[in-house]
């Protein structure tokens, strides 16, 4: 039978997955990005310095990653020498955004796939938030409305957590996480002005002066977030893993892994990063070469040529193209399908023995859960790798604040050449993000973004090979083929962002 899973909720944007199910096993899956705006088209002819602002609006969930990738691309194009403060401010703004996004992804976007909301009706304690929630759910269910307790009910059928205390604890943390994500965003706003969509990030640094009052305010907020990560978020992931250990073996993608590395440690353009870049193919990690990235479009709704390199990309929308089923392109590395995201980021770093904390955390959790490092390629692996990223980033941000010079410059002097080109790559929370800018006659002649979910939710490539998420879904057993909670858990573990993927 054929079942459409879309519109998939608790993700960013408009995603459908067309599945074929036989004998309760998904035998085919097609990921369909269903919203298109055409950023690369309307960026042409604009002032180059518009780019880090316009591209943030690709995604309101991870806008800072786009601002950073665009700034790096322009820094490379303009050959800027970024002052130490500029690099650190970029990291402080972007890093805080990662922390908020991990919490949002786990609690608001994923938890309801596992947690039984109705357990609140059994609550007998005295916590004011939980009593309020209990009263509200009771009143809703008694109200006779068509959709009581929306948006938490109705939900998909399936096996949720049985343990009442665990469910109720998770609901409490769902509420708390909403406060804590704000603290991370407040911290980012100290140096970025506001969230979402910062105006303070520029190529060459940021405009805010890192005076001591701002630094201490940032440290206090990030410390609160860090404590929540260690005391609540990580234990909750361990608890979910304990309740659903089979998800260490469900949702593995069937290709390689790519990470561009996250947050430079010095202002040198080729600086080492907190987390190392690399592409993991056939068990070995290789250096990333942007020239090996091409984007297939035979199954995408564009009539422009297929398999173009990033610097050659063109985009002609063709909404009625035959056999095309998605607005998402199919990027491939050396012709190979790869997954990007937290698991890719952690595995690529871990296998290079790069960041000692990553190594320590991977080995601690692998031992605790009795899994191999290769099982980070799974539903639970992606959640765990987000938590590992969060722990590593939070400590790094606190250390970075010590390196700020309150009297030093925060920006390079900006001078935009008449013609230039540059690549800029970073890790958004949901995976590797690459921007390319080419400037001719002082205007943007070409702009290309290859975005995390473009890789993960890609349709078939020109060889007919599935994208990472498609490959992770194919072969999955589902209890109820009409609803497929198991498939939803897989999709959510990728944290897809369709506004990003298509843009």
């Amino acid at each position: 039978m054929k079942v459409d899973l879309g519109p998939i909720t608790r993700i960013e944007g408009h995603l459908n997955v067309h599945t074929t199910v036989e004998n309760n096993v998904i035998t085919d899956a097609q990921c369909m990005g269903e919203m298109f705006r055409g950023f690369e088209v309307f960026l042409q002819g604009r002032d180059p310095l518009d780019a880090q602002q316009i591209t943030q609006r690709i995604c309101g969930v991870c806008p800072y990653a786009h601002a950073i990738a665009s700034s790096y691309a322009q820094e490379n194009a303009y050959q800027l020498k970024v002052p130490s403060n500029g690099r650190i401010l970029h990291n402080l703004i972007q890093g805080a955004n990662h922390l908020y996004d991990y919490l949002l992804q786990f609690y608001q976007l994923s938890a309801l796939d596992f947690v039984d909301v109705t357990a609140i009706l059994k609550y007998k304690g005295k916590d004011a938030d939980l009593l309020h929630l209990k009263g509200w759910v009771q009143a809703e269910l008694a109200s006779g409305k068509p959709f009581p307790a929306a948006p938490f009910l109705p939900r998909l059928s399936g096996n949720y957590i049985n343990d009442t205390d665990l469910n109720i604890g998770a609901l409490k943390h769902y509420i708390e996480a909403m406060h804590i994500q704000q603290k991370a965003n407040r911290a980012a706003a100290i140096f970025g002005g506001k969230f979402p969509h910062t105006t303070a990030i520029f190529p060459g640094g940021a405009t805010q002066t890192p005076s001591i009052d701002k630094i201490s305010n940032y440290v206090a907020l990030i410390t609160e977030v860090r404590n929540f990560i260690h005391n609540t978020y990580i234990p909750d992931i361990v608890a979910v893993a304990g309740g659903f250990p089979n998800y260490w073996n469900i949702g593995a993608s069937k290709g390689g892994f790519l990470s561009y590395g996250l947050m430079p440690l010095t202002s040198d353009r080729n600086s080492k990063r907190l987390m190392a870049p690399g592409v993991l193919l056939d068990g070995t990690v290789q250096k990333v070469d942007f020239e090996r990235i091409t984007q297939d479009i035979n199954h995408s709704k564009y009539s422009s040529p297929t398999a173009l390199k990033v610097r050659d990309a063109v985009l002609t929308p063709a909404p009625h193209k035959k056999d095309a089923y998605s607005w998402i392109k199919a990027p491939r590395y050396n012709g190979r399908m790869v997954e990007v995201g937290p698991s890719a980021r952690i595995m690529v770093d871990y296998l290079q023995g790069h960041n000692p904390t990553v190594k320590k955390l991977v080995e601690t959790f692998a031992k605790m859960a009795k899994i191999q490092a290769s099982q980070l390629n799974s539903v639970l692996g992606r959640h765990l790798c987000r938590a590992i990223s969060a722990a590593v980033i939070a400590d790094f941000l606190l250390a970075e604040t010590e390196r700020l010079d309150p009297k030093g410059p925060t920006m390079a002097d900006l001078s935009v050449p008449a013609s230039a080109e540059g690549f800029g790559a970073t890790e958004a929370s949901r995976g590797g993000l690459l921007h390319y800018i080419r400037i001719e006659k002082h205007k943007i002649a070409r702009y290309e973004c290859v975005v995390p979910t473009t890789w993960n939710a890609s349709p078939r490539d020109d060889q007919g090979n599935p994208g990472a998420m498609e490959s992770a879904l194919i072969g999955t057993k589902v209890t109820n083929p009409e609803e497929q909670l198991e498939a939803l858990r897989i999709v959510h573990s990728f944290d897809p962002c369709i506004a990003c993927a298509v843009h």
Binding site: P151, Q182, N185
Partner: protein, 306 residues
């Protein structure tokens, strides 16, 4: 026009969506008198959006997101929060927009691809289909953010989808239902829910010529900017990151109506000019629309200095 009763209903609905925990006591009391079971529902749909508006609404500190969870029983559907997914989610939306689930308000985030309906699809229909249905059945609509209010980034010059705002779309299709525009890329969460407070206490807010509450959008950023003194003294920042009035770097505060200089963002933490960053006019009806109207005047300064 909608009458005061409809507005009260709408206000109460919105307040349950965005929370009311920290409202002044008389307002809270007024809201408490309304039986939640009798309220119209709110259906929040996303078109050509980036979800930044929704994420901004989650940054509302007073009221808190916790009250968002427990008090928004009337939020029938929001793609980022609803537990239900897939066919059942579409069924729910469809029941509302076809008038089978009682009165409701429509909140729209994002633009409408008027010339390429395939560029935004929900379930089996283009996004615009839901808007067409809703036009016949909804009480009123709130355009959340600059895209839904004025077109915004998806409607930037040279865009391939013919993107337009909700108001433009309804004007094109002859729909006369009221639409309140709350611009901003993203909008400040207060702008959305405090509009509701105004509705409850006073009634229909006075709107600007662009259809937005004057309470928040009546004065230019420049007029209430703490650097207005620098402007008068002709103390101008000559490069990014410098102090002084940012006008010569391209600050669009003089052209943009919003109360950012007094409200500040993220729980009052900061705002763009507070971070030394020029205003890029994100709440302006012409935000990002023209290629020859860049955000900054850096290139211009570069040329004149040579």
């Amino acid at each position: 026009m909608i009458d005061r009763r409809q507005f009260l209903q709408m206000a109460a609905t919105l307040s349950t969506v965005f929370g009311v925990s920290n409202l002044p006591a008389p307002v809270q009391a007024a809201l408490n008198k309304i039986d939640p079971a009798s309220l119209p529902k709110l259906v929040y749909l996303q078109g050509q959006s980036c979800t930044g508006c929704s994420i901004s609404l989650l940054q509302a500190e007073s009221p808190s997101p916790a009250s968002l969870i427990t008090d928004y029983s009337q939020l029938a559907f929001h793609a980022d929060l609803s537990a239900i997914s897939g066919k059942k989610a579409v069924e729910m939306i469809t029941r509302f927009v076809t008038g089978q689930a009682g009165p409701y308000l429509l909140a729209i985030e994002g633009a409408i691809p008027a010339k390429m309906p395939e560029a935004c699809v929900i379930g089996e229909h283009p996004f615009a289909w839901y808007l067409d249905q809703a036009a016949k059945t909804m009480t009123a609509a709130v355009a959340v953010g600059t895209c839904a209010s004025h077109g915004g980034i998806p409607a930037a010059e040279g865009n391939p989808t013919g993107a337009c705002s909700l108001r433009e779309y309804y004007a094109q299709t002859g729909v006369k239902k009221p639409v309140i525009a709350i611009p901003g890329c993203p909008p400040h969460p207060d702008w959305v829910w405090q509009t509701v407070v105004h509705l409850v206490k006073i009634g229909m807010p006075e709107l600007t010529k662009d259809g937005s509450p004057k309470l928040f959008f009546d004065r230019k950023v420049h007029e209430t900017c703490p650097r207005y003194h620098d402007f008068q003294q002709e103390i101008f920042a000559k490069k990014l990151g410098a102090n002084g009035c940012l006008f010569k770097l391209g600050c669009l505060g003089p052209d943009t109506s919003a109360d950012c200089p007094t409200r500040w963002w993220n729980g009052g933490q900061n705002w763009c000019i507070g971070a030394n960053a020029p205003c890029i006019g994100c709440a302006s009806p012409i935000f990002a629309r023209k290629k020859n109207f860049p955000f900054y005047r850096i290139a211009e300064l570069q040329k004149t200095s040579k």
